[in-house]
Symmetry: C2
Subunit: 467 residues, 2 copies
C-alpha cells in the first residue's frame, strides 16, 4: 500500500467513526502536509482518492469537505436505553487505538501503563525456567483448564485475599478479554439483554456488538459508583440475562463500590438469579490501605464469574488471564476448546514460575507507588492548566483519570485537535453504546511523568479554553 | 469434587454424547472397579448418584441400564443434508478428547503427533533470544496484524513456495483455530449456510455450532478428495455463504486435491463468488516429491482465506497460527481485537527468531521422515491384524490414517471397548454433523512406533473380529 493510500484510509476511518463529521472541512493540503509530515502531493493524492470513492467533495475556493453518507443516520432505529441499545462503537474505538501506534504520540489515550513499569527481564528468566520444567506432553494436553501450577498459584492468591475457594472453577484464558467473551457467551444467546455500566469499558460494548446482544446501560456515578436503584428497576422490568460490571477501579471512572453497595448488588443478583460477569482486571492496582475485594467474595452459589488478568499489573502481551466461572466453569472450558483451544503454554509456564519465585508482591508494591505518584502529577497538572469548572475523579489506584469537562466541550473535537498536535486521549463517546459523555475524556497517567507530559497537559488546557 | 462424583460425571458425558446409548447395560460394579482402578464402593456410589439424577435405572438381577432421555430423539427436526444440518457434535468430541488426558492410554485418537518430534529445546533458546530483542513497547502495541519479523518470515515462506505475495493480508492469530473462527465469523451471520467436507475436521463442525451456522456437507472420497460435482450442485441450488475445505492432507481422510481438481474448485468459487476458508495446517507435513500447494495460489482477487499454523509441525502449545485473509484481512484483524486482542507476544517473538536461525527446513525434513516411517508401521500392522475387508487411506504425508471398517462395525462400540482396554481412537461420527461414518475410525500414527503400538493394533484387530 502506498503512503497516500494509507493516509486516505486513516481519514476514511475517522469519517466512518464520526470523528470527521459529514459537512466538516478537511485540513488544507499545506496544513495536513505539515501535521502528518508527508509531502503536499501525497496529501493531494489521498484527497483525490477519497473524492473518487465518494467520501469527500471539493467545493470551489474552500477546500475539501466530508460528504453525507448515503445511508442517512436518521434511518437507524432509536431504542430507549432501558429497552436495550444496539451497540456500534467499534469504528470509533478502532480509530482511537490506531492513533496510539505512533511512539511519538503522547499516550494519554492508551489503555496500558508504560511497559517500563513491568519486570520484563525477570519474566524472561521465569520463561526460561518455566520452559525447562514444562513436560513435553503438556504442550498437546488440551482438554485442561490450564497449567496446573499456574492455576494453583492463582487460587492461592484468592485464598490469601480471604476469598472463597475457587480452585475447581478456575479456567486460564488468553487474557481477561477472552475470559469475558467466553463467560458472556456461555450465559447468552443473540438478541439477549445484558446490563452494562455507563460509562463502560469500550471493549465490553464491542463484545456485545460481536455477540449481537443488546446493552442496557446502568449509570455509574464517578464518586459513588453504579446506580443500584437504576439496576434494581432494570432487573425488575426487563429480562436481563447477565450483568457485566467492574466493582473495583471501574474503567473509565476509576470508582470502586464500597462494601455496602457490593452487598446490595449481590442481593439483587441473587433475588433475580441473574449472573454477574465481574471484570476485575485492576484488582492488584488498588492502593487503598486495605485491598479492595470483589463481589465474588459473597458468592456461595456460583452466580459470579470473576475475571482477572496479568496484562495490566505484570506481563502485558503475554495474554494470560483467567475466570473463576462459578456454575459456568464447564461451559466456559468447552467454549474455549472450540475457539482458541488453550492459552499459550510458554506464557503460562513463565507466569507459574514467576508467581512462585519472582517476587510478585514486591513488584506490585513498587508499581502501585509509581502509579500513585504519576496520578498525583496528572491531577496537579490538571488543576493548573484545565478550566476551573472541570470535574475529575479521584480513584484509589490504577492509572486512569476521568474528566467531566465544561458542557460546551465536544471531546471528539478535542480528540481531533489534540491528535493533530501529537497528544492522544480517550473521548467519552467510546465508553457508551449511545455515544454519550460528549464532554468527558479519560486520560492515562500510567507513564512516568516528564516534561513532555507536563507540556501536553498545558496544551490540552489551552485547547480546552479555546473550544 | 469427590472421586465417585467425577466418575459419575464421566459416565454422564458418555451418555450425553451417545457413546453410552439409551437401553445399554452399564459395566458391572466389579468390572468397572477393575477397569478404572477405583474401589467397588466408589463405583456403587457413582451409579447411585446417576440413578438419583434419573440418568440410569437398576433392573432386578441384571444391573444398571442407561435410561431413555426425557426429550425423545425422534422429536429433533430432520433436515436433509442439502438444506443444511444443525450441528451438535461437541459432546461426542469432548468425550473423545477427555479420554486422551491419561498418559497411559495409547493415543491413537489424538489430534497431535508426539511432542518428542519437535525441537523444543531449540525453541526455548529462540524464546530467550526473541524476548531479549522484543522492544518493551511492542508488548502493548495492540492494533497490529502481528509481530513484524514473524509476519515477514511467514510471507517469505509463501514466496519461496511460489505463492502470490500475501504480506499485506497476513494476520497472526492464536493458532489456526482462531484464524478459522474469525475468518468464518467475518463471512457469515447466524443462520447462514456453510459448505463443509464430509467427513470433516470435527472442530469445524464445532465452530459452526458455536456461530449458529448450518452445515452443507459435501462428500469427500478418501482416494479422490472433495466431490466437486456435489459442490457445484450445492452452490447452484443453495445460498452458501462460505466454504471451509482442506485441499491438502484433509483431516480425517488424509486425501489431497490434485492440480486439476483445485483449478476446478477455484473456478466454481469464482463463478459463484463464494469465499473459501482454506484450512492448510498440514501443509508442511506433505511428503510427496513436490510440495503440495493450496488453492490460495490461484487467488488473485482475495476470495481465499488461507489458514496455517505451527502447532502440528513445530511448536505445539505455543498457539501461533495465521490467516492470509484476502479481502477479509481488515475485518479479521478487527474481530481479533474484540476477542483475544493479540496472540501471545513471547510465542510470536520465539517463532520469529526460530524461523530466522533455528533450521526450520532441516527439522521439517526429519519430521516428515519420522512420520513416513510411523505411518508405514501402522499400515503394516493394520494389514496384519485388521479384517481383510478393511479399507485404509494412503495419504502422502501427515499422521492420520482413515479406516473404513466392515459395514457391521459400530465404531462407537469399538471406541468404548478399546478405551476400556487403554486404547483411544477417533470414531467416525465425530467427523460429521449428521454423525455418519459409523463404520469408520481415524487412527493417529504420529507417535514413535513401539511394542505398545503394535500390541494395541493387534488388540484392535481382535476387537474388530469379535464385533
Amino acid at each position: 500500500m502506498k503512503r497516500y493510500e494509507r493516509f486516505a484510509d486513516q481519514l476514511a476511518t475517522l469519517m466512518n467513526s464520526g470523528v470527521l463529521a459529514p459537512g466538516e472541512r478537511l485540513p488544507s493540503v499545506r496544513n495536513a502536509s505539515q501535521t502528518h509530515g508527508i509531502s503536499p502531493s501525497t496529501v493531494f493524492q489521498a484527497y483525490y482518492l477519497l473524492e473518487s470513492r465518494g467520501l469527500i467533495e471539493a467545493r470551489e475556493r474552500s477546500g475539501y469537505f466530508v460528504r453525507e453518507p448515503a445511508r442517512a443516520r436518521d434511518a437507524a432505529p432509536l431504542l430507549t436505553p432501558l429497552e436495550g441499545t444496539e451497540v456500534a462503537v467499534s469504528d470509533l474505538v478502532y480509530s482511537v487505538l490506531q492513533s496510539l501506534q505512533d511512539p511519538d504520540i503522547v499516550p494519554f489515550g492508551s489503555a496500558f501503563p508504560s511497559p517500563d513499569l513491568f519486570p520484563l527481564a525477570r519474566l524472561a528468566r521465569s520463561m526460561a525456567h518455566g520452559l525447562r520444567d514444562l513436560p513435553a506432553q503438556d504442550l498437546t494436553a488440551y482438554v485442561t483448564p490450564g497449567h496446573p501450577e499456574l492455576r494453583r498459584q492463582i487460587a492461592r492468591r484468592y485464598g490469601l485475599a480471604g476469598m472463597p475457594e475457587v480452585g475447581e472453577e478456575l479456567v486460564i484464558t488468553h487474557g481477561a478479554l477472552e475470559a469475558l467473551n467466553l463467560g458472556l457467551q456461555s450465559l447468552t444467546r443473540p438478541g439477549d439483554l445484558v446490563a452494562v455500566e455507563s460509562p463502560a469499558f469500550y471493549a465490553s460494548l464491542q463484545v456485545l456488538e460481536r455477540l449481537q446482544l443488546k446493552a442496557v446501560e446502568i449509570p455509574v456515578d464517578p464518586e459513588r459508583g453504579l446506580n443500584l436503584d437504576a439496576l434494581e428497576e432494570a432487573l425488575s422490568r426487563l429480562p436481563i440475562k447477565a450483568c457485566w460490571f467492574m466493582s473495583g477501579l471501574q474503567n473509565p471512572t476509576g470508582v470502586s463500590l464500597d462494601d455496602r453497595a457490593q452487598q446490595r448488588l449481590y442481593g439483587l443478583l441473587q433475588r433475580h438469579q441473574v449472573p454477574l460477569l465481574e471484570d476485575d482486571v485492576y484488582a492488584e492496582l488498588y492502593s487503598g490501605s486495605e485491598p479492595h475485594r470483589p463481589v465474588k467474595r459473597f458468592d456461595r452459589d456460583g452466580l459470579v464469574l470473576h475475571c482477572g488478568s496479568f496484562s495490566k499489573c505484570l506481563a502485558p502481551g503475554y495474554r494470560i488471564g483467567w475466570i473463576a466461572a462459578g456454575r459456568q466453569a464447564g461451559a466456559v472450558a468447552r467454549l474455549r476448546l472450540m475457539t482458541t483451544i488453550t492459552p499459550s503454554m510458554p506464557a503460562q509456564a513463565a507466569l507459574a514460575d514467576y508467581l512462585q519465585h519472582g517476587g510478585y508482591d514486591r513488584h506490585l508494591r513498587r508499581l502501585r507507588l509509581s502509579l500513585d505518584r504519576q496520578r498525583q502529577a496528572m491531577l496537579t497538572a490538571a488543576r493548573r492548566y484545565f478550566p476551573a469548572d472541570t470535574h475529575v475523579s479521584w480513584p484509589q489506584g490504577g492509572y486512569f483519570l476521568w474528566f467531566e469537562l465544561p458542557e460546551r466541550v465536544d471531546s471528539l473535537a478535542l480528540y481531533r485537535q489534540a491528535l493533530a498536535e501529537g497528544i492522544s486521549l480517550a473521548p467519552g463517546p467510546i465508553f457508551s453504546a449511545q455515544q454519550g459523555f460528549r464532554n468527558c475524556i479519560r486520560l492515562n497517567c500510567g507513564h512516568p511523568w516528564d516534561a513532555r507530559s507536563e507540556a501536553a497537559m498545558a496544551r490540552l488546557g489551552e485547547l480546552l479554553k479555546a473550544l
